[in-house]
Symmetry: C2
Amino acid sequence: MKNLKYYLELIRAKNCLTASFGTIVGGLIASGFKLDLMYNILIASFIVYLICGFGNALNDIYDIEIDRINKPFRPLPSNKISLKNAKIFSWLLVTIGLLLSMFNNVCFVIAIINALALYLYAKKYKRNKIIGNLMVAYLTGSVFIFGGASVNNIGITLILFLCAMFATWSREIIKDFEDMEGDLKEGVMSLPIKYGKKSLYIAGIFLMVAVVLSPLPYVMEMFGEIYLVGILLCDILFIYSIVKLLRAPSKNSAKKSSKNIKYVMNFVCFCFIIGSILK
Amino acid sequence: MKNLKYYLELIRAKNCLTASFGTIVGGLIASGFKLDLMYNILIASFIVYLICGFGNALNDIYDIEIDRINKPFRPLPSNKISLKNAKIFSWLLVTIGLLLSMFNNVCFVIAIINALALYLYAKKYKRNKIIGNLMVAYLTGSVFIFGGASVNNIGITLILFLCAMFATWSREIIKDFEDMEGDLKEGVMSLPIKYGKKSLYIAGIFLMVAVVLSPLPYVMEMFGEIYLVGILLCDILFIYSIVKLLRAPSKNSAKKSSKNIKYVMNFVCFCFIIGSILK
């Protein structure tokens, strides 16, 4: 049983749960909260859990040398799990995940793309955040579409995917602004390292894309006016967060802004849920 | 030789050339017009030609019964090429295309995704334009990224990809608005059929996403002020086209607007080329 605890640590179980939760949200919204499709949604969220776990384990496998210094308490550098077992375990996760995803063609394709993206991220793009940010943004957004695909209704989750992707992309850049010092020391490349404060304008542009896309579910008559009111409030908060950051860019204001954007993103999710229930 | 002419008709050679040209533009911009990378770019544009030809041939193969009535002069319904030969030829094109694309990992992955998308489009989503539009938009944008990938510099072409994708998505919806009558008769589903005039607001939102993204190459210091001036002019023309259409939506104004947007898109390409040369 102690071993299980280490494996849950290796795959960062909480982080996987968050991703699974996103899939459930996507599935419920796409199915209009029809509970007879709950079986598909739960399978999809389990697959997301497995593949997310694969990605997280892979990160630790590739980082084992750095973690011996930076995070010696992690399961691999502390030898609580052997490198060989971690490798077998992570490939087992992705294999089961991909096999299960065959229940739906679109899910299968997304699962393959995501597994590939997670592999490339762990191997290469974690140290080149310029591309890495986009991968994280895509992967974050994709959990919603995965839920939608599992109930054969991608439509609305496609919008949630795009909004989540661009908002996450923006937030990752802001987080990189906050982490600039550490990244410079470790030789990691990021937009803020390359462009300095100007990178926050890039973050601003991506956040504006999410804002521009956000009324789509209302325009497409998927959701009603309550959604519109909620999402416009979110948009105002997004704009406020980024304008405040652009006016006084610092490590501290970046930290605050990235936190705010995270809260607003959760509220966006909430608006989609409410929109879907009250439509 | 006459046979060759029919095969060129089957793959819609001109259309493939346009796609190839986009790849050359993407490659040149990404390589900063370094002509020693021209070999990679030409290979990439040849691959795009082949895979685009595969997609177009596949469209005719799946449409053979409809074309017997609507377009009896096409190579398949007029029996200038047998269905069997067309099938062999199209699979030959994609096989050679995919094999050649192995010269670069990213190109290979994009080529596989695009071949799959073209197959699904021909088989299914041509009749469901709601998804079909996104596929066409993605495929159009991807030719630029393919050129960038061939010279191992996706960066700038990623922005061109996103702008082209959202502008094309917008334009496809406007074109569907123009084609509503015909689509209704043939039982094709599209956003304008589902949402009527409101669909033009969706087109407007997607065009605004392209507009919001367009200054990125300037913000990222990839291109200078001449690019910024040119692209802001394009943005004004985009906004003018869509506002004019939204004020008086009709089949005729949709036709004009879609034509304008096409011209402006070419001008956007031109701005990227100029930006890349004069940076």
